[in-house]
Structure formats: C-alpha cells, structure tokens
Amino acid sequence: MISVLRDLDDPMPLADLGPAQRAAVVARGEHLRRRHRLQVIAVPVAVAAVVAAVAVALAADPGTARKDLPLPAAPSPSELVLGQEPTGPVGVGGCEDAAGDSVGEPDVDFFSLDRPSAPLFHYALVHGEMPSSGIVVFRIEAHSADGTRSREFVQRTVDGTVVEQYVRDPSTGARRDVPRDANPFGDPGDHGVGGAWFPPGSAGGLGDRWTWEASISVNGTMVDACTPTPAATP
C-alpha cells in the first residue's frame, strides 16, 4: 500500500520558492491573521450592540416583549464544579453521520467524543464548505442514564473562527470556559475539522452509563445532528 502511494509521488523535485513567491505566501498569511484579529474584536462589539438594542427595545415597549427574547443583562453564570470523571459511555465514542442528510450547509460526517486520557475531546469533521459568514455552533449534549443530569459541550464559531468554547450544566447554568488555545485543530473554517479539549471531570456526575448526542446549528437553526449507536463505534 505504501509503495502504491509512493508511486503517486511527483518524480520531479520540488524547487524552493523564490523570495517573491515566499513573500506572497507570508502576505496571504498576514491577511488571514488580520482578518482573524478583526473578527475577535468585531464579534464582542456586535454582540454588545445586539444586547444593547434588545435592552432599548424592551425598555421602550416592555408590553410587547416576547418571552423568548434574550435577557439584556443576564447574571454571570457560576463556575461549573468538576467531578470525578466517569468511565462511560460504554463502547460509544463516535457518531458517523449520513452524508447529505443535512438541511443546509455544512453537512457533518462525523462527531466523536473521545477520551484518550482524562480530558474530553469534542470533535466535528465537516463534509462540505463551512459557512464563510455567520455563527456556527457545535454542541454535544450528554445525559446521565436516568436523564436527571446533563452537560453541554459547546464550541461556537463566527465566520469560521472559534470565539468561545465551554462545558455547561444546563440545569444550573454553571459553566466552565475552555481557552481557545485548547482547540487542537485551529479554526474549523480552515480545513473542516474542529475540536476542543475539555477539562478532566467535565462529565463528572453523569454516571458510567451516560449517553450523548451531537448537533450543529448555523445562525440558530439546527442543520444536522447525530446520535451514536454501538454500531458506529470506530
């Protein structure tokens, strides 16, 4: 097999790039870096502007405010207390999704929740193009066997750049933010792969027979989801 692949190598040696061509690569990299920096600045500003607009609207006409509008000034969530990491879920680490079943772009073809060591690993491989603009949320929801305890593992991207990732207890709102440096694959928009390490104990308290399901939403609309089965275990 390896020899077969080597048969596919270019028989001609690859020449080094000249200074001008190398400078062009660096210039392209600088452009990408500036774009990422702008996004990092622009996204919180945009969020703040939306929150302010909602607050103004609610203050101006509270009688017509819909119940499902976000609160303009939610209290800071408490920090999630990490527990003893469970050993489950038994035999279920991955979720292969059917290609083409998405209701929009992108179409996810694999989710997994691996634990090669203590930390949880939230992963999504996108089949197709990531949206060049908009908010994309990868989410894994894990539940205890009796359904009374849950955790959400979330990675949120804007225009392909990861802006936040956290683990959260939906029943209490307690959450623990995970540094963006914990993303081992860079931004999903770069190459269709996204993932994040979560701290040991993130799934603490779920017991050893917990289950999980994964989903991806774009601009608030869920476009694809996947629930692992033992048959999908890699």
């Binding site: 097999m1 596919l8 690569v25 990408l32 694999f110 792969v193």
Partner: protein
C-alpha cells in the same frame, strides 16, 4: 516578538511546504494545484503560527489534505471523473488518485486521520500518535484497519 515569529516560520517553511506538497500531489497529481494547495496551507499556518508551531507538520499535512480533497470534490462535482484524465499522467494513476480520494472520504474519521498522517504525510507511528493524542498501539490499529479498507479500492486498479 513578531521578528521571532517570522524567523521561526521562515526556518520551517520549506520542510513544511514539501510535506504539504507531497500529500496534495499524491491526491491530485497536478503540480500547479498541489503547489497552490501547499502555499495556502503554509499561509494558514503562518496566520496562526503561535498556536500551530509546536505541531506544524501534522497540522499542515492535514490542512493540505483537506484542501486537496476539497479541490478533488469540486472537480468531480463540476466535470465528473473525466476532469483528471486530460492531464499528462498515466490513466491508471489518475484512476488510483480518484479512488484514493473517494476511499479517504469514506473512512471513519479517526482512521482517516491516522492514514493521512502515516501514509500521505509519511509521519512515523510515534509522530502520528503524538499529533492525534493517541497511543502508538491505537495508531497501529487504526492504520491497519484504514489500510485494509483503502487496499480494497486503491490496489485493485
């Protein structure tokens, strides 16, 4: 700080470019496109060098592979399998590349990651294990299963 960043990237530039080019060429068989893919992978590495630097080679190989698979998919979507047959390459190699692309896309995610780094990127088992935070034994297992599935499609040509 910026100077250090550039010097470090500059020092790694050609080895990384060759690794990216090799993976892309194996999939595409097209020098110009493989060079473009390698350049784009390098530019993306540069853009986030501070977080990529300590695992730059596997990162660049993966990005180049995904970019090359995207190119292959777009070509196939636009023109079908004939698109590569007009290029100056033996027909059996063209078919093999198309089958390799399809087979890689069909692999389970972890097997694909391992196969890409081990056999498109020529990384050692240890380097692949480090890059994917796996045990070497797990890498061997995924590589064996991935290769078995690839053989069925690639070596029949």
């Amino acid at each position: 700080m910026a100077g250090d960043l550039v010097i470090t990237f500059e020092g790694a530039f050609e080895p990384l470019r060759r690794a990216a080019y090799r993976a892309a060429y194996r999939l595409l068989g097209d020098r110009a496109t493989a060079e473009d893919v390698a350049a784009e992978a390098l530019a993306r590495a540069y853009a986030r060098w501070s977080s990529v630097a300590d695992h730059a080679q596997p990162w660049v190989i993966r990005v180049a592979t995904n970019l090359a698979l995207d190119v292959g998919r777009r070509r196939a979507t636009a023109s079908g399998r004939q698109v590569l047959l007009v290029e100056d390459a033996p027909v059996d190699q063209v078919e093999r590349r198309l089958d390799l692309q399809a087979a890689l896309r069909a692999l389970p995610r972890r097997q694909r990651e391992v196969v890409v780094l081990r056999f498109l990127g020529d990384l050692s088992e240890k380097a692949t294990a480090d890059a994917l935070a796996l045990d070497v034994g797990t890498v061997k297992s995924h590589a064996a299963r991935g290769l078995s599935r690839l053989r069925d499609t690639v070596e029949r040509v």
